[in-house]
C-alpha cells in the first residue's frame, strides 16, 4: 500500500481527495435540495415528512449517508491540512499584496469552508440531531401505516425566527462562493482543462453555484415571509 | 648564421607555437579521417578522468552533458543562479543547418562557403567546414531533446531565410530560438547532474586558471554567496564563457557577460586571437539617456520588411529632433533610403557590418533622427501597404480604400513580428505600427576569442575553448543564426571527440590534488587581487569606470577605426586603468554576496582586454568584416581587404607592457578569395 499512501499524501493526491469528495458533496447538494423543496408543498408536511422518513430508514440510503458523513469529514480535514501546509509554505509574508487575479472565492476557500462547516453543525443540531434524539413529535398520515417524525413542523418553527433565517441565508452565501470556485476547481484538479470544455464547465459551475444555494435560501425565506 | 636562416627559424618556432593541427587530406574528408584515426579513451579510464567546464550556455551545457554521457567526471561552473540563465537564451532568430529540407540547393559545402565568405575570408577552412558538416546533427539532437521548433502543417520542420544567404536553412522556434535550444542543453545537463555524473556549481565565478607543468589542471573560483575562494582541480579545463562585448559597456550582451575566465587564461599564457573583430548589429533600439545599462536587439528579420531611411534635408532632421514634425510628415521624395540607394542589389538586406557602417555614416553626416543624433528610421509603411493590398485581395476586396489596406497590412505585420513590435513599444513607448522604428547599431557579438587549434585546444595543453569564447569559425564577421550553430556544434559534436586526443595521454594520471604549490600560489594571487581592490577605498563607482571604458572603446575602436584614434584610445585606456586602481570604491565586504566586487573584478579585466583589442586593430591595416579601418577603404567608402599582407589570424601573447603578436597564416585551398560586393 506504500504507493497508494504516497499518492494520497502527495500534493496532487491530497487535491484529488478534495476534488472527488467535493464532487460527491456537489451531487449530494442536488439530492438534498430536491428533497427539501418539498417543504414548500402546502400539504401539512406529508410529502416532506414521508421523504425524511424514507431517507432515514432505507438501508441503501443509510449506507450512503455514512459515506456522506465520512466524505464531509474527509473534505474538511483534508482542506484544513492542505491550508495549514499552504500557510506554512510562506512563513514570512508580504507587506503588500495587490494581485491581478483577485477572485474573492478562490482566495478564501478555507474560510468559506469553515463557515459552511459551522453552518452545518448548526443545521444538523437544529434538525437532524433533534430527530435522532427523539425530540420531535410523531405524526401519522392517511395511507401511511406508521408514524413519522414531524420534521416539517420543526422546520417551520425554526424558520419563523428571524435570526435563524438570517444565519441560513449567510450560510448559503458562503456556499455560493465556495461552489463558485469549487465546482470548476474540482475539474481542474482532475486534469479536465480543455479549451473547448472548460468554459462550459465554468458556465455550468456558475449556474449551479447560484441556483443551488438560492434554492436552499428560498426555503427559510418563504417560510418566514409567506407562512 | 645569416639573417634569412634566423627568420626561418623564427617562423618555424612560430608554427610550432601555433600548430593548428589540421588533419591531412581533402577538406571533405578531414573530419571523417580524424574521427577514424584519433586516440580513444576506454570507458573504464573515462571514469577516472575529471573535466572542468566553465560556463553553461549553449557550448558549456552541451559540452558538460555530452562529456558526462561519455563517462567523464564533469564539474560545471556558472556565475548565474542557474545554468539556464546564460545569455545564449536571448538569441532570437534561429539556427542554421545544412539539411536542405527545402530542396533549394543547400549543402554542407554551401554553408561552409557562405560562412567563409560572410566572415570576409578570415576564418580557418577546416574548422568552418567541420562546423557545416555537423550542423545537421544539431537539429536532430535538439528535436530529440524536445526543442519545439516551428513546423509546417504536415508536421515537418519549417525553415526561414536569414541575413544575406540565398537558401532557406534557418530553423527557429518563434523569436526565442536561443531560449529553446538552451533549455534543451540545460535539460541534458540537468539529467547528468541528477545521475551524479556532473557536479554543478552555480553562483561560482572563475577568477584564475591553474597550470601545472604546462597543462591546465584547475581553476580558482569565488563562491559568490559566501565570498569564499575555492580551489578546484581536474585533468582538463574547458572554457565556454562567451564573448567580451561588454568591454563596450553598452551592448546587447547581458549585464553579467564577462571576459574574466578567458582573460585569466591569457594571463596564464593562452593566446587571444583576432580581438579586434567585433560585430556591431545594425538594428538595435537607440540609446535614450546616460543612465542606460544595456541595448536591446531587434531581430535582423525585421530588415526583410522594413526600409531604412533618414531625411534628405537637414531642416527636416531638425524638425523631427525637436518633435515639430513626425517622420510620417516627410514626403517620399525627401527621404533618403540610403541602403537601397547605395546597394541596389541587396538593398536593406546587406550583411550586418555593411548596414551598421552605413547607419553610422548617415548619422556622422548629421542626419541622425533622435535627440542624440544617433538613430535612423526603420519604416514598415511600405510593407504594411504591400501586404495590406494582397490580403485585401485575398478577402475578395479588389478596390480597397486606404484604411482597409492598413487594417489588413497591420494584421500581417503583427503576425510576423508582433512580439518584436510589442517589445519595442514597451521600451520606447512609441507605437511602431504608427511611426517608424528608430534604430541604431550596437555591439552584439565578438568573433575574436581564445586561439584554438582543430581540437579546440588553446596553446596551453589541456585548456579548451568553445563557442563565442574561441575565435575559430566566424572570421571577421559572423552570419546571422550561426552563433547558436557553433556553440552547439562545439559542445555536442566536436569536444567529445577532440578532448580525447589530450585525455588519452592522461589515463595514467591520478586525480589532480588541489593543494599543489601552483594551486596555493594562484589562490594567494586571487586573494591578493581582491584585497588590493577592496583596499583602494576610493570615491568612484565601478560602473562609472566601466562606462568611461565603453565610451573610449566605442569612440576609438568601434564601427570605424583609424591609427590616430586607436593610439589615442590606447593611451586613454592606460590612463583609465591607472586611475581605476587608485580611485575605485567597492562597498561592502569581500566575504559576502557582493555584486559590486564581482563587477570590479570583471571591469579590471575588461580594461586590459580593451587595450588588446586596440592593439590588434592597430596591427590590422586593412578593413575586414567587423573591423573597418578608415585608412583602408575604397573610393566609395567600402571596406578594403588586403589579403596579401593580412590573411592571418593574429594571436596575442599578453604582456603588461608590449603584448607579443604571433601569426597563424590562413591557407585557402578550397575557396577563392573575392571582394565582397553587395551593390
Amino acid at each position: 500500500m506504500n504507493w497508494l499512501s504516497r499518492f494520497f499524501t502527495s500534493s496532487i493526491g491530497r487535491k484529488l481527495i478534495m476534488s472527488l469528495t467535493g464532487l460527491f458533496l456537489i451531487l449530494f447538494l442536488v439530492v438534498h435540495l430536491v428533497g427539501n423543496l418539498q417543504l414548500l408543498n402546502e400539504d401539512d408536511g406529508f410529502s416532506f415528512n414521508t421523504y425524511a422518513y424514507f431517507m432515514t430508514h432505507n438501508g441503501l440510503v443509510k449506507t450512503i449517508s455514512f459515506g456522506l458523513y465520512f466524505f464531509i469529514v474527509l473534505h474538511a480535514i483534508q482542506g484544513i491540512v492542505v491550508t495549514i501546509h499552504n500557510r506554512k509554505s510562506r512563513k514570512k509574508n508580504y507587506r503588500q499584496l495587490n494581485f491581478r487575479e483577485a477572485d474573492f472565492a478562490s482566495r478564501n476557500m478555507a474560510v468559506l469552508g469553515l463557515l459552511i462547516l459551522a453552518f452545518l453543525f448548526m443545521h444538523m443540531g437544529d434538525f437532524w440531531l433533534k430527530m435522532k434524539m427523539g425530540q420531535l413529535d410523531m405524526v401519522k398520515y392517511d395511507g401511511v401505516n406508521y408514524p413519522v417524525n414531524d420534521l416539517y413542523t420543526r422546520v417551520n418553527t425554526a424558520f419563523s425566527v428571524w435570526w435563524i433565517v438570517v444565519l441560513y441565508v449567510i450560510g448559503q452565501i458562503a456556499l455560493f462562493f465556495h461552489l463558485k470556485h469549487g465546482f470548476y476547481s474540482a475539474f481542474q484538479t482532475l486534469g479536465w482543462n480543455h479549451p473547448k470544455y472548460t468554459p462550459i464547465i465554468k458556465g455550468i459551475g456558475l449556474v449551479f453555484s447560484v441556483v443551488v444555494p438560492l434554492g436552499f435560501a428560498l426555503i427559510p425565506l418563504y417560510i418566514y415571509f409567506v407562512r | 648564421m645569416s639573417t634569412i636562416a634566423k627568420d626561418n627559424t623564427a617562423e618555424a618556432e612560430q608554427n610550432i607555437k601555433l600548430d593548428s593541427k589540421i588533419p591531412e587530406g581533402p577538406l571533405e574528408e578531414k573530419w571523417e579521417n580524424y574521427k577514424g584515426s584519433m586516440n580513444l579513451v576506454a570507458p573504464n579510464n573515462k571514469r577516472h578522468l575529471e573535466v572542468i567546464v566553465v560556463g553553461t550556455g549553449l557550448a558549456g551545457s552541451s559540452a558538460a552533458a555530452s562529456l558526462a554521457e561519455l563517462g567523464y567526471k564533469v564539474k560545471a561552473y556558472t556565475f548565474h543562479d542557474s545554468p539556464r540563465r546564460a545569455h545564449s537564451i536571448a538569441a532570437q532568430g534561429g539556427i542554421n543547418a545544412a539539411k536542405n529540407y527545402q530542396n533549394d540547393g543547400d549543402s554542407v559545402y554551401r554553408l561552409f562557403y557562405d560562412t567563409i565568405k560572410g566572415g570576409d575570408y578570415r576564418s580557418r577552412e577546416a574548422n568552418t567546414y567541420r562546423l557545416a558538416e555537423v550542423s545537421a546533427n544539431i537539429i536532430d539532437q535538439c528535436v530529440a531533446q524536445g526543442v519545439p521548433f516551428a513546423r509546417e502543417y504536415g508536421g515537418l520542420l519549417a525553415n526561414r531565410s536569414f541575413g544575406g544567404v540565398q537558401v532557406s536553412r534557418t530553423f527557429y522556434a518563434r523569436g526565442q530560438t536561443g531560449q529553446q535550444l538552451l533549455i534543451g542543453a540545460y535539460s541534458a545537463l540537468s539529467r547528468q547532474v541528477s545521475s551524479g555524473q556532473v557536479e554543478l556549481f552555480t553562483r561560482h565565478e572563475v577568477l584564475d586558471i591553474v597550470i601545472i607543468d604546462g597543462k591546465a589542471r584547475g581553476i580558482i573560483v569565488r563562491n559568490l554567496i559566501t565570498g569564499e575562494i575555492e580551489r578546484h582541480s581536474a585533468h582538463a579545463v574547458v572554457l565556454a564563457t562567451g564573448g567580451y562585448g561588454n568591454v563596450f559597456y553598452l551592448s546587447t550582451n547581458a549585464m553579467g557577460c564577462n571576459v574574466t575566465a578567458a582573460w585569466r587564461a591569457v594571463q596564464r599564457g593562452a593566446y587571444m586571437a583576432n580581438p579586434c573583430y567585433t560585430q556591431i548589429h545594425p538594428t538595435c533600439i537607440p540609446v535614450s539617456g546616460s543612465y542606460q545599462s544595456k541595448l536591446t536587439l531587434m531581430s535582423e528579420s525585421l530588415r526583410n520588411d522594413g526600409r531604412v531611411w533618414v531625411p534628405k534635408k537637414k531642416e527636416d532632421v531638425e524638425a523631427i529632433r525637436s518633435k515639430q514634425k513626425s517622420p510620417n510628415d516627410i514626403p517620399e521624395e525627401d527621404r533618403d533610403y540610403y541602403l537601397e540607394r547605395r546597394y541596389p542589389a541587396f538593398g536593406n538586406l546587406v550583411p550586418r557590418d555593411v548596414a551598421s557602417r552605413a547607419a553610422k555614416q548617415a548619422c556622422d553626416r548629421g542626419y541622425g533622427v533622435n535627440a542624440t543624433g544617433l538613430a535612423v528610421f526603420l519604416d514598415f509603411n511600405a510593407a504594411i501597404e504591400r501586404y495590406g493590398k494582397a490580403a485585401a485581395h485575398q478577402h475578395g476586396i479588389h478596390n480597397p480604400d486606404a484604411s482597409t489596406i492598413r487594417k489588413y497590412g497591420v494584421e500581417v505585420i503583427e503576425q510576423k513580428y508582433g512580439n518584436l513590435f510589442e517589445m519595442y513599444e514597451k521600451i520606447t513607448g512609441d507605437d511602431p505600427y504608427r511611426t517608424p522604428m528608430m534604430i541604431y547599431p550596437a555591439v552584439h557579438y565578438t568573433m575574436g576569442g581564445l586561439w584554438v587549434d582543430y581540437n579546440l585546444q588553446t596553446n596551453v595543453d589541456g585548456l579548451f575553448a568553445l563557442g563565442e569564447c574561441n575565435f575559430s569559425d566566424h572570421g571577421a564577421n559572423r552570419l546571422g543564426a550561426s552563433a547558436l550553430m557553433q556553440g552547439l556544434a562545439d559542445g555536442y559534436f566536436v569536444i567529445p571527440y577532440t578532448i580525447g586526443q589530450f585525455l588519452s595521454q592522461e589515463i595514467q594520471t591520478p586525480p589532480i590534488p588541489n593543494d599543489t604549490p601552483e594551486f596555493l600560489k594562484a589562490e594567494k594571487e586571487v586573494n591578493e587581487r581582491i584585497d588590493r581592490l577592496m583596499d583602494i577605498n576610493g570615491e568612484v563607482s565601478v560602473d562609472t569606470f566601466h562606462r568611461e571604458l565603453g565610451h573610449i572603446m566605442w569612440e576609438y575602436c568601434g564601427m570605424a577605426r583609424n591609427r590616430e584614434g586607436l593610439l589615442k584610445g590606447r593611451a586613454m585606456i592606460r590612463e583609465l586603468r591607472d586611475r581605476y586602481w587608485k580611485e575605485v570604491y567597492i562597498p561592502g565586504d569581500r566575504n559576502e554576496f557582493n555584486p559590486e566586487l564581482e563587477k570590479a573584478l570583471r571591469v579590471a579585466d575588461f580594461m586590459e582586454m580593451g587595450e588588446l583589442m586596440i592593439l590588434d586593430a592597430l596591427d590590422r591595416e586593412e578593413s575586414a568584416g567587423g573591423h573597418f579601418r578608415e585608412e583602408y577603404q575604397t573610393e566609395d567608402g567600402e571596406a578594403l581587404r588586403r589579403d596579401e599582407e593580412y590573411a592571418y589570424v593574429s594571436a596575442w601573447e599578453w604582456d603588461e607592457e608590449e603584448p607579443e603578436l604571433h601569426k597563424e597564416k590562413l591557407v585557402f585551398e578550397n575557396v577563392e578569395l573575392k571582394v565582397r560586393s553587395y551593390k
Binding site: 502527495s10 496532487i12 487535491k15 484529488l16 501546509h85 499552504n86 506554512k88 509554505s89 510562506r90 508580504y94 507587506r95 503588500q96 494581485f99 477572485d103 478562490s106 481542474q188 484538479t189 482532475l190 479536465w192 482543462n193 479549451p195 | 555530452s66 548565474h80 543562479d81 542557474s82 539556464r84 540563465r85 545569455h87 536571448a90 536532430d140 539532437q141 528535436v143 530529440a144 524536445g146 519545439p148 521548433f149 513546423r151 502543417y153 508536421g155 518563434r174 535539460s187 541534458a188 540537468s190 541528477s194 554543478l200 549585464m255 539617456g289 543612465y291 545599462s293 536587439l297 514597451k426 521600451i427 513607448g429 563607482s541 560602473d543 562609472t544 562597498p587 554576496f593 555584486p595 559590486e596
Partner: protein, 251 residues
C-alpha cells in the same frame, strides 16, 4: 520624476531584515532596473551599501530578475518582466514598495535576491528527455502536428523566474512544474518517459516544500510569459493516471 522607494533590506539569509526608505530622481524612459541602478550609484557615492537585486539579460528572457513591486511580482504591467517595465508606468511623487519574492523554498540571499535553486532540482528530477548526444534520428522522422508543437512551445516558454510561486497565496510551484511536464509530454519524443518524469518531478516539488495548488490562477495572471493553468491540469492528469496505470511501483 521624484519617487519614494520603500525597499526590503536584508543582509543575508539569517538576518531578519526590514524596509528602508529612499528618494530617487528618475526619468520616464528608464527601465525599472535602471532606476534602481541610479539609486545604487547614489548610495555608492555616499559610501552606503547598494541594494542587491538579481538581473542579467535585461530583455525579458533570462528569468533572472524579479521582485515584488507594489505587491505584484514584476510590477503592474501584464506579461512583463521587471527589466522590461519602464518608469513611464509610474507617477511623479509616487511611493513604490519593493520586496523580494517570498516563499520558504526561495530563501532570501540578500535584499531582493532570492535562491531559486529549488527550480533547478525539480528539472533535475526529470525535466528532460533521456537521449544521449549522437543517438538522435533525423529531425523529420517523427512529424509533429503544427498546433501540438505550438502548444508545447507555449509551455516551454517558461523563463523560470519564480513569479508564479511569488504570486501564489500558497507559494505553490505547480505552474512551473506543470509547464515543464506539459512541454515534454505533448511531444512524441517526450511522451515515452512521461510517467516516470511526472512522478519524479512532483515528488521533488513536494520535497522542496512548496505549497499546494488551490486553483486560484494567480500564477497565470502574474506570469510574464502568460503560461496557462491548463498546463497544471495536464500535469495533474499525467500524475493521477501514471500513479494508477503503471505496473511498477516508482520511486
Amino acid at each position: 520624476m521624484k519617487l519614494t522607494l520603500k525597499i526590503w533590506r536584508q543582509k543575508d539569509r539569517e538576518e531578519t531584515g526590514g524596509f528602508e526608505t529612499y528618494q530617487v530622481e528618475a526619468s520616464e524612459e528608464m527601465s525599472f532596473l535602471e532606476m534602481l541602478d541610479v539609486l545604487n550609484q547614489e548610495l555608492i557615492e555616499q559610501k552606503k551599501e547598494p541594494v542587491a537585486f538579481d538581473h542579467d539579460c535585461r530583455e525579458g528572457i533570462c528569468g533572472t530578475c524579479g521582485m515584488m513591486i507594489n505587491g505584484q511580482p514584476h510590477g503592474p504591467l501584464k506579461a512583463t518582466t521587471t527589466c522590461q517595465l519602464h518608469m513611464r508606468h509610474f507617477n511623479d511623487g509616487e511611493t513604490i514598495l519593493i520586496e523580494p519574492f517570498r516563499a520558504n523554498s526561495f530563501p532570501v540571499v540578500k535584499d531582493l535576491v532570492v535562491d531559486r535553486s529549488a527550480f533547478d532540482r525539480i528539472i533535475q528530477a526529470g525535466g528532460y528527455i533521456s537521449v544521449d548526444t549522437g543517438q538522435a534520428p533525423d529531425g523529420n522522422v517523427i512529424p509533429i502536428e503544427k498546433d501540438q508543437a505550438s502548444s508545447a512551445f507555449d509551455a516551454a516558454a517558461c523563463i523560470g523566474c519564480g513569479a508564479c510561486v511569488a504570486a501564489c497565496p500558497n507559494a505553490s510551484a505547480v505552474l512551473f512544474t506543470g509547464a515543464k511536464v506539459s512541454h515534454l509530454t505533448q511531444l512524441p519524443q517526450g511522451d515515452v518517459e512521461s510517467k516516470r518524469r511526472v512522478q519524479r518531478m512532483v515528488a521533488q516539488m513536494n520535497k522542496e516544500g512548496f505549497g499546494n495548488c488551490s486553483n486560484i490562477s494567480a500564477c497565470e495572471a502574474e506570469c510574464p510569459k502568460e503560461i496557462s493553468v491548463a498546463n497544471i491540469a495536464r500535469m495533474n492528469r499525467e500524475y493521477i493516471s501514471s500513479s494508477f496505470s503503471t505496473d511498477k511501483v516508482m520511486d
